[in-house]
């Protein structure tokens, strides 16, 4: 069967077939014959060419997390991708850019005003989370169209902060 997943926001196409107790995996480049056993809801054992892998797994909504040899992979269902924009930004239907909070936190300072022209990498706002200040920067030269939050506001990740009109 064919599958499509997003791994690190990159679309991956693979196939997995069950055959006589084994699974045949292929990503177009490599093919593995694997014995896969679910040990518990959070643990999977995989044997490939007599090499054993212990994989931990957890799920949150439509995100699946896998820990393989100390490295965490986050796999999501595929979505349509808009290229050229940074994580945490969204292109609106009018062609402006909506800059969003990268994580839940508190707005410490808004460094710009409406109608300001900003350069790429200029700091737009400072958001504090876990006692650390994080600068939110402009990804392109642009004009500030709208500011949706003020200093002191608590924001969730994905909360729109500032709307930019690219120059």
């Amino acid at each position: 069967m064919e599958f499509e997943f997003l791994l690190n926001e990159v679309l991956q196409k693979i196939s997995l077939e069950k055959k006589e107790g084994f699974y045949i995996f292929s990503d177009g480049e490599k093919t593995y014959e694997a014995d896969i056993q679910q040990i518990s809801p959070h643990q999977i054992s995989v044997l490939i060419d007599d090499v054993s892998f212990r994989i931990y797994t957890a799920r949150d909504k439509d995100c699946r997390y896998f820990l393989i040899d100390g490295q965490q992979f986050v796999i999501k269902e595929p979505t349509e991708q808009v290229e050229g924009f940074r994580e945490g930004e969204e292109k609106t239907s009018e062609g402006t850019l909506l800059v969003k909070a990268p994580m839940p936190g508190k707005v410490i300072k808004i460094c710009v005003s409406v109608k300001d022209e900003v350069r790429k990498n200029q700091t737009l706002a400072i958001v504090e989370a876990m006692k650390m200040e994080n600068e939110i920067k402009a990804s392109v030269d642009s004009m500030i169209k709208e500011i949706h939050v003020k200093a002191g506001d608590l924001v969730d990740s994905e909360t729109p902060l500032i709307e930019l009109e690219p120059l």
């Binding site: 499509e4 693979i14 699974y23 957890a58 999501k76 989370a129 876990m130 006692k131 994905e158």
Partner: protein
């Protein structure tokens, strides 16, 4: 002995202290902010009282509220842990006034060691080595030249108004002084509008070495040897160990005696730590006193066999130390790694969210001081430390191997953590050789990316994701045949996120 202790803290350290109290047969009161209602320390304490909204100033730093809670619950002592109110002299004084024992130093000593200028003066009089430097600001270059001669090269030029490296210059001999001075003054002028600079001895390849001290209320002061905490990122310690590879027994004795003297001169009691900088020629200089139990205290406990929290409580209750300096012995080697909720692949930004799955490492010589559990939400309001992993072994080599194995066995899914970074750090050949200085991370890990994209592991992740889709509770997810749904008209609206609002 106390009947009931209020623990004015949260997270792993609150858990650590509550357990110590329970071992001693003392009842415990946990306090919590609204967002910590389900935190581990709340669940394990005998009583737990809400003290206000999530921001620390309105809860964990709210002295009135904490004193009131101690009164209401009949607690006869307060343990402040580290951070929050731990080194707050006003709070210690307030406790003294309210006749509640503050488990920490007396308020006068706390005030003295917290005042950089006054403590420096006091300690200089007692011949404690302090980083040599100019006391005043001079604008005249010939006076600066004379001063440089006196301090001894290399010297560091620092801007009086400054910080952030602006106006800083290192000068290795007299020939370089004049041009460096001019450049430093120019830079200071343009950065701060003030050209005044001063000189300080430049410490080459510094190591951060600190000594644990215990002082009872009867004048007995002993040290429990050193901890080396040179491995720091943005001035934050992340790995600590004892013994230090840089000390031999003669230097250890001299530094330990100096640490005792610092505490005696300061009129200090209870547990505290004296921090030193050690240069490559083994000169050591006093930095500051940490007037509290420290995050890295477990490495001392594992190598000396002494429980520092038990000792803190006994000292605060007026007991005499039951051992002397000559009874102290360092055995084996201990290393601690701080486990933070932060994303090493994304500039170490704090990572909050739900811990979906958590499995701690076990085994001989492995200790895990922990404030988390599976299903717990990591809040955004506090320091992102989740837990501390500490190992002990008969020597450093085995301790390193044991730490690597324990980090490999450590599972946290849901939030990003520093575990993988720490594993690479402990496995680094220079760490192995004990070449640890405060610039270790900028020197060796400035461009660290980890094995971000090992092809084999990526394939494995996709393989198990597909397996999960075939067999798991949400089978069918990610199946290409189910893509009709995914290409719904909704998606043409723009970037679309799963689970978004």
């Amino acid at each position: 002995m106390f009947k009931k202790i209020l623990v004015a803290n949260r997270g792993e350290i609150a858990v650590r202290i509550i357990k110590a109290c329970q071992e001693m047969g003392i009842c415990t009161v946990a306090v919590f902010s609204d967002v910590d209602r389900l935190s581990l320390h709340v669940q394990i304490a005998d009583e737990a009282i809400g003290i206000g909204p999530p921001p620390a100033v309105e809860s964990y730093l709210n002295m009135d509220r904490i004193i009131q809670t101690a009164r209401k619950t009949g607690a006869d002592a307060i343990h402040p842990g580290y951070g929050f109110l731990a080194e707050n002299a006003a709070f210690a004084r307030r406790c003294e006034k309210e006749k509640i024992v503050f488990i920490g130093p007396n308020s006068d000593a706390l005030e003295l060691v917290g005042d950089k200028v006054r403590s420096r003066q006091t300690l200089e009089k007692a011949d404690i080595p302090i980083i040599p430097g100019m006391k005043g600001i001079v604008k005249d270059t010939s006076a600066i030249r004379a001063e440089a001669q006196k301090i001894g090269y290399p010297v560091m030029i620092k801007a009086s108004a400054g910080g952030g490296g602006k106006g800083m210059r290192v000068v290795f001999d007299e020939k370089e002084l004049t041009p460096a001075l001019e450049a430093g003054m120019r830079e200071a002028k343009s950065a701060f509008g003030d050209e005044s600079v001063y000189l300080e001895k430049y410490i080459q390849e510094p190591r951060h070495v600190e000594f644990q001290v215990l002082a009872d209320n009867h004048g007995n002061v002993i040290h429990l040897f050193e901890r080396e905490c040179s491995i720091q990122r943005r001035h934050q310690k992340i790995v600590e160990e004892t013994p230090s590879q840089a000390l031999d027994s003669g230097l250890r004795t001299r530094m330990g005696e100096t640490a005792r003297k610092v505490m005696q001169v300061s009129g200090y009691n209870n547990a505290g730590t004296v921090e030193f900088l050690l240069d490559k020629d083994k000169n050591f200089y006093f930095l500051e006193v940490n007037a509290r139990l420290q995050v890295e205290h477990p490495v001392t406990e594992l190598t000396t066999g002494i429980d520092l929290v038990h000792q803190q409580i006994k000292i605060a209750a007026g007991e005499m130390l039951s051992f002397g300096q000559e009874d102290m012995e360092q055995k084996g080697h201990a290393i601690e790694c701080r486990i933070y909720a932060e994303d090493p692949h994304n500039n170490f930004l704090p990572s909050s969210g739900k811990i979906l799955y958590f499995k701690e490492p076990h085994g001989p010589g492995v200790r895990h001081d922990c404030g988390i559990y599976s299903g717990w939400d990591v809040p955004i309001f506090y320091d992102p430390i989740l837990a501390k992993l500490i190992v002990w072994a008969e020597n450093r080599e085995v301790a390193c191997e044991r730490m690597i194995k324990a980090l490999d066995d450590y599972v946290i899914l849901g939030v990003q953590t520093s575990i993988r970074f720490l594993r690479d750090l402990i496995g680094h050949p220079q760490f192995h050789k004990g070449n640890t200085t405060t610039s270790f991370i900028p020197d060796h890990f400035a461009d660290w990316t980890g094995e971000k994209d090992s092809e084999e592991k990526r394939r494995l992740a996709l393989l198990v994701a597909a397996f999960d889709s075939l067999t798991g509770p949400t089978s069918g997810k990610g199946l290409k045949t189910a893509k009709k749904e995914i290409y719904s008209p909704w998606l043409s609206l723009g970037k679309w996120r799963l689970g978004g609002k």
